[in-house]
């Protein structure tokens, strides 16, 4: 893909490879101090410290809460409408609105909606599916799903400079730093 990088010599960003999580963390700290904001770290497994450093907001719990509430509401509404309003029938001498019997379905609907909200929310907020992403253009990135840690500083970052930024990163890692063609 490097050809493509050459064709439109735009650069997506600069990608640095690290040996360990600690190195990565150090690099992130350094980069932030250097005033970089548009950057992203890639790791083969979750590392909370890094995300702390990068400082994200996470709205997922709210999404899930809404999902659950929606489930519960619709669950009861469905049962109330069908057995009290739509076609009321005497069943086993029970009241039309046998709410104790309705609890179970309400519960299950809550769970279902919450779970679906959690998963869809997670993918949506992560903007997945996204099979194509410029970072994949860097061949070393294959290791991101194996044992290497990466830090990407985007070219869009105002502080980004095609010469100095990679240089700074090179100081932070003994492994290689590459340009990611867009």
């Amino acid at each position: 893909m490097s050809e493509r990088a050459v064709l439109d010599d735009a650069i997506y960003g600069s990608l640095a490879e690290f040996e360990s999580a600690d190195d990565l963390l150090a690099a992130v700290k350094a980069a932030r101090e250097a005033g970089f904001r548009r950057m992203e770290a890639y790791t083969p497994h979750p590392i909370e410290r890094v995300s702390h450093e990068l400082g994200h907001k996470n709205h997922l719990p709210l999404v899930v809460l809404i999902g659950g509430a929606l489930g519960a509401g619709s669950g009861f509404a469905l049962q109330y409408y069908t057995s009290v309003i739509s076609y009321p029938v005497r069943v086993g001498g029970k009241p039309l609105n046998s709410w104790p019997a309705f609890i179970i379905v309400v519960f299950e609907m809550t769970i279902l909606f919450a779970a679906v909200a959690a998963v869809l929310g997670m993918f949506a907020l992560n903007k997945l599916p996204q099979p194509y992403h410029p970072v994949f253009n860097a061949s070393i990135f294959e290791l991101a799903s194996r044992n290497r840690y990466f830090l990407l500083i985007e070219a869009r970052d105002p502080a980004f400079d095609p010469i100095t930024t990679p240089a700074m990163l090179r100081d932070l890692t003994e492994l290689q730093v590459v340009d990611v063609p867009s």
Partner: protein, 947 residues
């Protein structure tokens, strides 16, 4: 099993089922099940008949001839198709109730196996051809008609008798024989010993206070059974404090419905019965040589003494009845006892026999067989009956038939006899033909067709007329002509119309006649049978309660109808007492060989508590070889043991074969396990706490059932009068299009009957108390089945019915699992027959025919309720008490079933529910059944110590 195939899917149906399913799965996984319907054709008659409104059923009066007497009936006819039979209460000798065989008659009419064409030597022929052959045969005889024999069953039709007599008039050489296996020979002989003449008995229970039944199942068998059941039941109901009951003592071998109602029941083998009857007779004052009561075994002595005292104490208010199959001696002694106790004329009436020509039928058949063997019979015309199968084995009747040059048989099905006759003529079913008949009290009754003969059916009248040379005369003309001549009236037309409308011919009933006891009765008595030595056993032969002498073998309803008490279906079995079974080391379903001399049968054993020891009961009517698809090859042929000398009992050896034979019973467990299921109490203990009446559980958190402003339907069974005859089951079956499933499925416990009659044995197994409990859907207020149905296919109606919606049911069977009474029935296969045209005609158009995979159950005959509601609404009123009569209720001979509106405080059910003996089954579950019970009330003699 063939019987299933005839009623139930064969290859074709499965293929169709398959195609439908494939279609279904194609259209979005089964949405096909509710796609468009096929186009339907409708036909408007070209010239519409008067007085018939399409869609409204009509009722016609007629009568069904059964052994020894006819039953007056009303036939419900939908658009010209007879679909249901009810009793004819307009008839002076009739009631709304009927017996099981009468209910099943519609199926007999539509039986797909009925023979459809005249056959000559098994080849299809024609009616004219037969007439030609008949004429030829008769011309071959001399003018006296010597060598012409006519064999009929017991003739009860005045017209037919008249035809025969006039025929014999021109042909003095001809002979008219009568034979059917279940006949009055014993009773005749008995009354001739007692009175020197042939009379028949009619007890008057309304005036009786004590009854001794000597093996007499008077409530379910015999021409007057319905009348007697009604009368006796009326004397067994307690509706107020201090009412006295008519006490019943019963001495019998095999437990019978009547016996099961007895306050004191003594099971004895026939020989012992005859012995003890002599003792009793002597004790009540009949002069004869017999031992003292004290000579009896202790367990009998106590009861017999009490019985004798009772009979004596209630002179002129008692009845002694002997069963039709008891020996002449016992019959005579019964008459003698009634005479000695001053019951004659008071509680026992005597009539002339109602047969047109009372003769000793066995003798008559023996004569015929003998003549056939001697080659004196040139032409034999058999009108109905099936002698080749039912004749006593020792007459070798079938073989002798081969010697007759011209042999013709008129019958509904091509049976054993037809196959041995040169000519077979299909008989017109009684619902298809004109005739007349006689009921138990001698009243002549009209038999009129409900439908034109489905096939080329002919009646006896036509054939006899043809023999007399009047070819082509219709039964109608013949019968009408006869009555025009006989009727003692000048305005015949109106008389005739009235007779047809009401179903009976006025002023033909007999009046009671006086009788005088033969003073030297004792001499007339033959020596009683002796108890056979060890190793031998008394074999009791009896007509089957359902298929009778075999005439109903091909009737699936009767085959699948559980026998009273044993609940046996689709077979006959060697009924035997527990003690004897243990002694012989055999148990239920063991196959044993019964050998009387060189004649023997193999039968499956069925151990019945309460059956007498040292004897075995075997029912006739099975082991048919050509009964039809349904009836052939079931059970064993007990006629092998019947001899001309002794029709009802034999002495033989019982030897286990070591093989087993599965029996299909609808109830396998007959003990109540100490549970409060059938309550019974002595009439004097009724007001006790324990039987105080219950209104649901004492304290409950449940809200009282909501009251609606319409009716609230409820049903009450009186267990004091339910004798377990099972007529209700078949009445329900006929009303509600209930399928039969066949022996295999019954063995898998998949019978479909909506109401069942449970029978329980309580106490000492040798002579237990036998209790019956009819159990239909209880229509619980708080029905457990409704709550668990996921699709709402069973829900509650405003009038308190537990509705079952077949077309909504997906078949989870949860309702069935959760029903504490297990009254729901599931269509595990496609049981209903959607193929056979004749069976389609039989169906009640007001009741949905259930398909495979749906649940069904008692609906309280909702179609009748709806009909009544519509009728009432049109007249702008509410439904009246007694306007809705369920099928089971109307058929019940002892009127043990009441149905009505709980919201009407004066309705029968409301009042019954206030009685002290009222209770509901499994009350403690708090499901509030709408169907409830009155405990069995008995009237035990305090002098008899309960053993």
């Amino acid at each position: 099993m063939s019987s299933i195939e005839s009623q139930h899917p064969d290859g074709k149906v499965q293929r169709r089922e398959f195609l439908r399913l494939m279609g279904a799965s194609l259209t979005l996984g089964g949405l096909g099940a509710c796609t468009r319907q096929p186009e339907e054709r409708i036909f408007a008659s070209a010239r519409s008949p008067e007085s018939r409104i399409p869609g409204k059923p009509l009722f016609f009066a007629t009568a069904m001839t059964m052994t020894g007497g006819a039953q007056p009936i009303l036939v419900e006819s939908h658009m010209g198709r007879p679909t249901k039979i009810e009793g004819n209460s307009m008839h002076p000798g009739g009631f709304s109730a009927t017996t099981a065989p009468v209910q099943a008659a519609v199926l007999g009419l539509y039986d797909p196996d009925r023979s459809r064409v005249v056959k000559r030597a098994g080849r299809i022929s024609t009616w004219p051809a037969f007439l030609g052959a008949l004429r030829e045969a008769l011309d071959g005889l001399d003018d006296a008609g010597t060598g012409l024999r006519i064999l009929t069953e017991t003739v009860l039709s005045p017209t037919l008798a008249d035809q025969l007599w006039s025929l014999l008039g021109d042909k003095p050489g001809a002979v008219w024989h009568q034979y059917e296996p279940v006949n009055r020979s014993m009773a005749r002989a008995g009354s001739e010993i007692a009175f020197g003449e042939d009379v028949q008995v009619l007890p008057r229970f309304e005036r009786a206070e004590v009854v001794l039944s000597i093996d007499a199942d008077f409530m379910t068998t015999g021409p007057a059974s319905v009348r007697l059941a009604r009368d006796f039941a009326a004397r067994r109901r307690v509706r107020a404090e201090g009412e006295e009951l008519c006490r019943l003592y019963s001495i019998e071998s095999a437990p019978s419905p009547t016996g099961s109602l007895a306050d004191h029941r003594l099971p004895l083998s026939p020989a012992r019965i005859e012995a003890i009857v002599r003792v009793i007779a002597r004790a009540v004052g009949v002069e004869l040589e017999a031992p003292e009561i004290d000579s009896l075994p202790v367990q009998q002595r106590n009861m017999v003494q009490a019985l004798v005292d009772d009979l004596k104490a209630k002179r002129g208010r008692g009845v002694v009845l002997a069963g039709e199959q008891q020996s002449p001696a016992v019959q005579a002694l019964a008459h003698a006892m009634n005479d000695a106790l001053g019951n004659n004329g008071a509680t026992v009436d005597y009539y002339d026999p109602i047969e047109m020509e009372p003769i000793d039928q066995v003798e008559s058949l023996r004569q015929l067989a003998q003549d056939m063997q001697a080659g004196e019979v040139q032409a034999l015309v058999i009108l109905g009956g099936n002698p080749a199968y039912t004749a006593p084995a020792d007459l070798n009747f079938p073989e002798h038939m081969a010697q007759v040059p011209f042999c013709a048989h008129l019958s509904l099905l091509e049976d054993e006899t037809s196959r041995r006759c040169g000519w077979h003529v299909p008989e017109a079913h009684f619902l298809e033909s004109w005739s007349d008949t006689t009921i138990y009290d001698g009243a002549a009754s009209a038999v009129q067709p409900m439908i034109a003969p489905l096939y080329e059916g002919r009646s006896s009248h036509e054939i006899v007329a043809a023999m007399a040379g009047f070819v082509g005369k219709s039964s109608y003309e013949i019968v009408r002509a006869f009555w025009k001549r006989e009727a003692f009236t000048d305005d015949f037309e109106s008389y005739w119309e009235a007779s047809l409308h009401n179903g009976w011919l006025a002023d033909t009933a007999f009046d009671p006649r006086p009788v005088t006891l033969n003073s030297s009765l004792a001499e007339g008595l033959a020596e009683g049978p002796v108890v056979p030595p060890g190793g031998e056993i008394e074999v009791i032969l009896r007509p089957d309660p359902m298929v009778w002498d075999g005439r109903f073998s091909n009737n699936g309803w009767l085959q699948e109808l559980p026998n009273p008490i044993t609940t046996l279906t689709w077979d006959n079995a060697a009924l035997i007492g527990p003690a004897t079974a243990r002694r012989l080391g055999i148990e239920t379903e063991d196959l044993v060989q019964l050998a009387c001399g060189e004649r023997m049968v193999e039968a499956a054993v069925l151990v019945v508590p309460g059956h007498a020891d040292d004897c075995v009961t075997l029912h006739l009517g099975y082991g048919r070889t050509s009964a039809g698809e349904v009836g052939s090859g079931l059970g064993c042929n007990a006629y092998q043991l019947v001899t001309a000398g002794s029709a009802w009992s034999a002495v033989g050896r019982l030897t286990p074969t070591g093989r087993r034979y599965p029996l299909a019973r609808t109830q396998l467990h007959h003990s109540m396990e100490g549970r409060d299921i059938v309550r019974s109490a002595n009439v004097h203990e009724l007001s006790d706490q324990e039987h105080g009446h219950h209104e649901g559980p004492a304290h409950t958190l449940l809200a009282p059932p909501e009251k609606n402003d319409g009716p609230a339907w409820a049903m009450v069974f009186d267990l004091s009068t339910c004798m377990g005859c099972n007529a209700c089951i078949i009445g329900c079956q006929s009303e509600n299009n209930i399928s039969i499933v066949g022996k295999d499925e019954v063995m898998r416990n998949r019978e479909m009957h909506w109401i069942r009659v449970d029978s329980y044995f309580e106490g000492d197994e040798s002579s237990p108390e036998i209790l019956h409990q009819p159990v239909p859907c209880m229509h619980c207020e708080d029905a457990p089945c409704e709550v668990v149905c996921p699709v709402g296919a069973t829900v509650h109606s405003a009038e308190g019915l537990n509705d079952m919606v077949y077309n909504r049911c997906v078949g989870t069977r949860y309702c069935e699992a959760n029903c504490p009474y297990k009254v729901r029935r599931f269509n595990f296969y496609l049981y209903a027959d959607y193929e056979t045209p004749s069976l389609k005609m039989m169906r009640n158009p007001d009741v949905t025919v259930r398909s495979r995979g749906v649940m069904e159950k008692c609906t309280y005959c909702v179609q009748r309720i709806n009909e009544a509601r519509i009728h009432a609404k049109k007249e702008g009123r509410e439904i009246l008490e007694g306007e809705v009569v369920t099928a089971c209720q109307s058929v019940c001979p002892s009127s043990a079933i009441e149905f009505g509106d709980l919201n009407d405080p004066d309705s029968k059910v409301s009042r019954l529910r206030m009685l002290p003996q009222h209770y509901s089954l499994l009350e403690e579950l708090g499901v509030r059944p709408r169907t409830t019970y009155l405990s069995r009330v008995t009237d035990r003699n305090p002098d008899v110590s309960r053993s």
